[in-house]
Symmetry: C2
Subunit: 455 residues, 2 copies
Amino acid sequence: MEDLLTRLRAGLPAEAVLTDPDVTASYAHDMASFCHAGTPAVVVLPSTVEHVRHIMRTATASRVPVVPQGARTGLSGAANASDGCIVLSLTKMDRILEIDPVDRIAVVEPGVVNAALSRAVGEHGLYYPPDPSSWEMCTIGGNIGTASGGLCCVKYGVTAEYVLGLDVVLADGRLLSTGRRTAKGVAGYDLTRLFVGSEGTLGVVVRAVLALRPRPPRQLVLAAEFPSAAAACDAVCAVMERGHTPSLLELMDRTTVRAVNRLGRMGLPESTEALLLAAFDTPDPAADLAAVGELCTAAGATRVVPAEDAAESEMLLRARRMSLTALEAVKSATMIDDVCVPRSRLAAMLDGTAAIAAKHGLTIGVCAHAGDGNTHPVVCFDHTDPDESRRARESFDEIMALGLELGGTITGEHGVGVLKKEWLARELGPVGVELQRGIKRTFDPLGLLNPGKLF
Amino acid sequence: MEDLLTRLRAGLPAEAVLTDPDVTASYAHDMASFCHAGTPAVVVLPSTVEHVRHIMRTATASRVPVVPQGARTGLSGAANASDGCIVLSLTKMDRILEIDPVDRIAVVEPGVVNAALSRAVGEHGLYYPPDPSSWEMCTIGGNIGTASGGLCCVKYGVTAEYVLGLDVVLADGRLLSTGRRTAKGVAGYDLTRLFVGSEGTLGVVVRAVLALRPRPPRQLVLAAEFPSAAAACDAVCAVMERGHTPSLLELMDRTTVRAVNRLGRMGLPESTEALLLAAFDTPDPAADLAAVGELCTAAGATRVVPAEDAAESEMLLRARRMSLTALEAVKSATMIDDVCVPRSRLAAMLDGTAAIAAKHGLTIGVCAHAGDGNTHPVVCFDHTDPDESRRARESFDEIMALGLELGGTITGEHGVGVLKKEWLARELGPVGVELQRGIKRTFDPLGLLNPGKLF
């Protein structure tokens, strides 16, 4: 242990090596509930690529596992420490190195906060779409590691679609450059994409070339109240089938609406079974919203309320962004699921989730990126009640089983981490797992990078 | 050999096994010039997944290499036979299995022709964007193998962005399913993307889930004449910097314009040094074209001509699509390059290419997906003249060196195949090549799938 610290300090400034157990304990886990986290041996805070290379060389020489971390806002335990590991926090590498409006790219270090990048590119009339709920805190490196989504994905896609090239420090300290800074490129296997969503198990991203878009017009939001989740899902299908391209299409069930009202006094309509939010950032959003409003009414909406202006739109978005936090306050504990199904099966997913809740006598609130079929069922329970805790875990698993049955995936955007390891194997099947392990071995033959995550 | 044929025939219909040397020779190569092609032992034409599995099991048992093929319209020799190989043509597996307007996906077999898919989804009001010039002939499987681009990429992106999930027969005959049919999904490493652009070296794609978009309005095209390539590139940069999103932004140099006129009697303006085509498929394309026209004029355009109607737009597009074929007719032989640079370096790329042509005393016509910085310099030469042939090859290489120097890639959309193997290693560097080889070994430990391609 002392040997490890001595070696690390040989290539790092003194303040970049944290060993106080009270301090290092605060780096032990991300925001996932009920995921095991070990006790790190040390936390390091590199500020240069050379620092990271030194850390990885030291880890390899000492055979000590390394857990790369961003802001620890993840929801699957992918950033949780393992016992005796080096926690490698990239938060000090937070420089935006370049913003180029002609090439429409940004070059950033991994510790840049998502919102900081969004604002910086906004000043150039540009737009970095991926917007996870934690965007004011989470880092680009974390977004890349977990392949983050967000509210805008239904129109603009996920993080993976915005990563053009990476600099990565490998397990043994070598530096790899992948991808490109051009709009297109097909030279060899797509290693860039392989790193996106790899949860720190293949290498440490130290620099990213990101694609940007022109900033779209401000979006206008509509809220529609439905007498059932199924009716709201019918509206979602109709909107997509008719060829609309909303910039946001979100669903909050009755439990979520009430929880948000309780937390934020938002004045959302509590009598509704499902509240659908749709938005457009097109040249004429009011016309698009009117068309979508008609589809909602045809699907059974009892009330359709287009936002009058940007302030009202912003209020509705704030309510939606608050959903997970609000649901977390319903009971003493929650487990947040992240099942994505084909949008044509969304109604079956929501009805099935309600049936699971009823069977186990639990409250399960659902908010969803409905346009993408990506649901977040939040299982609320009293963690001091062992039987309720057991039923919560069971329903969490049954929700994933239902998602797979409906042709979906166990994770639309939160990742696997330690939370869903067993389920990843079920989704991938034995051939898929074998190949994924083979890739892991190719990049990290000693198994030092974020061990125990994914599989 | 007889043993191999007997084994193959045990699991295939008689008509699916071709051995007549005159017939099999016609399957020996794709459309790339000057790439070595061997003599296949046999050509097989499976029509089911089970056929493909039987072929791969047989190949593995017999240790015979397999070259997967689509329509052989590729431009890098990636589909060229190796001596004694099994050519595995997927052209008989050409069924569109599913088109779903709510989930906005199509499920297809690999032999479906790009244009056939485009038309079929069009009937549902949907759009499959990737449109390589060979779209009337090339197959979706080939598009996936080579990660094809096209004219629409500047707005809609490349093939990779439309492949959600794959069924793949591995080298040993096992079946792997990757990805998803949902809009989002982050379960494990992105194996789907790894197969896209892998040129048949990792497995045989037998089924693909493709993302579709709503069909956009018909695009309107503008043509602008420039006194120099650099001025046209300035216009391209201005268009992108101002936040426009053209559905097409193409450049044809003087040589290309003349070649197209000669081939197609298109009446393009021969006095211009560079012809820029811009198009919009927005709600008000005329307004967008007017704005872009002003930017062209400001950049030095001598003439800006918006198409009056769809027919005139279609004529201009036809001229552009004809470019490579027209340039191929300039001399007895051509080598087609495919360098992509950051669009801010496009002018440097075009001026540098002209300098290379002058230095070697050669005609090099350039057409380019200018909005993406993706140039196709076509080196025209007399292949019966050894010295001119040598200079052609040298200039072809110098163009790639220039592209790398300008921060670009040796291939924007045509792939590596056998044509650019040495250059791939230069672009990736030793660490990248080592990891790519490691991935190849994980999927194909015996090295039977399309050996000698990529690296």
